[in-house]
């Protein structure tokens, strides 16, 4: 992601809080699906709940929509408590994973359905429907039935239907779940574009990290009913708060290590897997007695070479265990002398360049600011 993209995205969100979730908990029998979550959604942002299946993200979304009743906690828009409102009384609309287009109604009738429930005049409904059709570029298909549409077209109709009522909040449940991979990337950008044009606040649920990172301004990583970290895509990827987040987003090499020195501008760690000390270009200034730390290193920031780099820290020796050529980059699995396997990405910037081979002795090294340190 380029830096200009990041600034554009950040400018979309305003600082005003639209929706606040306060200590929401959901219990099924004895199982805790959502465990005491508090969260603010800012006006105008796209917020993604990202997690594996069973992490509670869908339950949280369904509680926002009103399909599930919270066991305890509150959901408020501004000062209004909407925790106990029925789904049909909430100013939110949802785009379902299956799209849930009414099979017996035309595209136009589907979009008009929500407006009719408000008792809007027929002429106004027609005007709004054609406006929505235009927004999603589906003017030509107004008279079609859902089964006569392709997957992408269905998604556009579902989006138009959920936006027709000017919802205060748009909920997206696995928005790309029913599309194949190629169409997915295309639709992700298109959906963001439409949401941006309408200017609606949006909460989405997904298990696909790429989707969350492409579409969302902020991401909440969920696991076992709890939020592990909230932040921008860059925060989440570059500064994960814990091992779970680091491992969930992308690949990572994690080393269990111990603090030797912890100063304001640097720290030194000892790790039995690594031949030299680990030098980190910033300190955590923990002051806590527990000296155990996790040192995490993304594979694309881990370099390898056959010649020994001229460094007295952040370098260790190993042999190439396995090589996976992926086109854009190659993944090297290097076995360190301790037996630990480390992943390194090598970008294929040259065609058929000289590369380390299987069983070759290599050195693994990284920059002082490449690694991330965390407690758990």
């Amino acid at each position: 992601m380029t830096s200009s993209e990041i600034t554009r995205k950040n400018s979309r969100a305003q600082d005003e809080v639209l929706l606040s979730i306060k200590n929401i908990t959901k219990k099924y029998d004895d199982a805790l699906a959502v465990d005491d979550i508090s969260l603010d959604i800012k006006k105008g942002e796209i917020f993604a709940l990202l997690g594996a299946s069973g992490s509670g993200k869908s339950t949280l979304l369904r509680m926002l929509a009103g399909f599930e009743k919270a066991t305890s906690g509150k959901i408020c828009i501004g000062s209004e408590d909407i925790t106990h409102l029925q789904p049909n009384e909430r100013p939110f609309n949802m785009m379902f994973q299956s799209y849930a287009l009414f099979p017996h109604m035309t595209v136009a009738k589907n979009i008009a359905f929500g407006l009719q429930q408000d008792g809007m005049a027929k002429a106004d409904i027609d005007a709004r429907v054609s406006e929505m059709l235009k927004l999603v570029h589906m003017e030509k298909y107004a008279k079609r039935k859902p089964h006569q549409l392709s997957g992408g077209q269905r998604q556009r109709v579902a989006l138009a239907r959920s936006l027709a009522k000017h919802p205060k909040l748009l909920l997206l449940d696995e928005p790309m779940g029913a599309l194949d991979k190629k169409l997915r990337t295309e639709m992700q950008l298109e959906v963001v574009d439409i949401i941006e044009r309408v200017g609606v606040t949006c909460v989405m649920v997904t298990h696909d990290q790429e989707e969350a990172m492409t579409m969302a301004d902020r991401i909440a990583i969920m696991d076992e009913g709890e939020i592990q970290q909230i932040g921008t895509p860059v925060d989440i990827y570059e500064s994960p708060l814990n091992r779970m987040v680091a491992e969930f987003i992308g690949s990572v090499n994690i080393f269990e290590s111990e603090i030797i020195e912890d100063e304001e501008h640097f720290m030194k760690l000892f790790c039995p897997d690594i031949d030299t000390d680990i030098y980190v270009g910033r300190g955590v200034s923990s002051g806590i007695d527990d000296r155990n730390m996790l040192f995490a290193l993304r594979p694309e920031k881990t370099f390898i070479s056959v010649e020994k780099p001229d460094m007295d820290h952040n370098v260790t020796e190993g042999t190439v265990e396995d090589i996976a050529y992926l086109g854009g980059h190659t993944v090297y699995y290097v076995k360190l002398t301790s037996g630990k396997i480390v992943q390194c990405f090598l970008a294929n910037t040259e065609r058929r360049a000289e590369r380390p081979d299987w069983d070759e002795k290599v050195y693994v090294f990284w920059q002082d600011d490449a690694g991330m340190v965390m407690r758990s």
Binding site: L85, Q86, E89
Partner: protein
């Protein structure tokens, strides 16, 4: 907030309304009748309207309760009744077996037919069951009679000189039952078989299984639910079958449905008929529970 409270007040009401309609109907018209069957089975027959003694009487401030187990003793003591029960179970068992032997290959053939032909084939099997059951049983009377079509044909061909006695035998009853109940066997079997993943058979073949192995180790075990459902759908009603033994059976065919009918309509002995019904329900409780459990399992899939 006020709309919320009104809605909340209304909602459980709507739910209760939906719940109470069919629930009350079934309680009053399906479950309650069995209470009366039980009540009358412990009464005694009497020449009155209705033709049984009252359970409670109130004489000089004394409540008398009259419960008689004579009907049950009478039924269990009389070899005719016991024989009728045993015979019904035996005939239901063999009819179910014949239906299964004929119905399984039929259901299999439909399930393996091209997708667009399946509904046509299934319709072909089900269509007769939508026409009158009574008339289909009656059709066999004309075929199986001594001067009926089959005997006539065989005699005309010179295969036999004298007609074979077929009508009024157990054979005719078996034919009639299998004929009438076959679609009930085929339908659940088909519904089950059609869900089987063909890749399982291919995987088995790939691992070296011949088609008998595939049939007995893959298809049959996977279709056990369909077999149970189809068998129960045939077995249970056949135990109480009346019309078929009445039209096609003879004196040798003593089935409990027919005996109950005679006790009720010919002898007007309501208490004994009730006792017979109650014992029949008792016998059928296990297969009915089996069927019910299967229904639930299918519904939850």
């Amino acid at each position: 907030m006020s709309t919320y409270t009104t809605i909340k007040r209304l909602l459980p009401k709507g739910r209760c309304l939906i719940l109470s309609g069919p629930f009350l109907w079934l309680l009053v018209f399906f479950l309650m009748p069995f209470i009366f069957v039980a009540k009358i089975s412990v009464a005694e027959a009497e020449l009155s309207i209705p033709p049984y003694t009252a359970m409670f009487d109130w004489i000089d401030g004394v409540l008398g309760i009259r419960v008689s187990i004579n009907n049950f003793l009478w039924v269990l003591d009389d070899p005719l009744y016991v024989q009728a029960y045993l015979n019904s179970i035996k005939m239901a068992f063999f009819s179910t077996l014949f239906c299964l032997l004929l119905g399984y290959p039929m259901a299999y053939a439909i399930a393996k037919a091209p997708k667009e032909q399946q509904t046509v084939w299934l319709l072909l099997v089900l269509l007769p069951s939508w026409t009158s059951f009574l008339i289909r049983v009656y059709a066999w009377v004309g075929l199986l009679k001594n001067n009926g079509l089959i005997n006539g044909l065989l005699m005309w061909l010179g295969i036999i000189d004298d007609p074979i006695q077929m009508i009024n035998t157990n054979f005719a009853v078996y034919v009639g039952i299998v004929y009438s109940y076959l679609p009930f066997m085929v339908l659940p079997l088909y519904a089950n078989l059609v869900k089987h993943d063909n890749a399982l058979l291919e995987a088995a073949a790939d691992l070296g299984a011949g088609h008998f192995t595939r049939l007995f180790r893959i298809t049959l075990p996977l279709s056990i639910n369909g077999i149970v459902a189809g068998s129960m759908l045939v077995f249970i009603p056949v135990v109480g079958e009346y019309v078929i033994p009445e039209l096609l059976g003879g004196t040798e065919t003593i089935m409990i449905g027919k005996v109950l009918w005679q006790e009720f309509f010919n002898n007007r002995d309501w208490p004994v008929a009730s006792a017979l019904a109650l014992i029949m329900v008792f016998i059928l409780i296990i297969p009915i529970t089996l069927f019910h459990r299967f229904q639930n399992k299918e519904a939850n899939l």
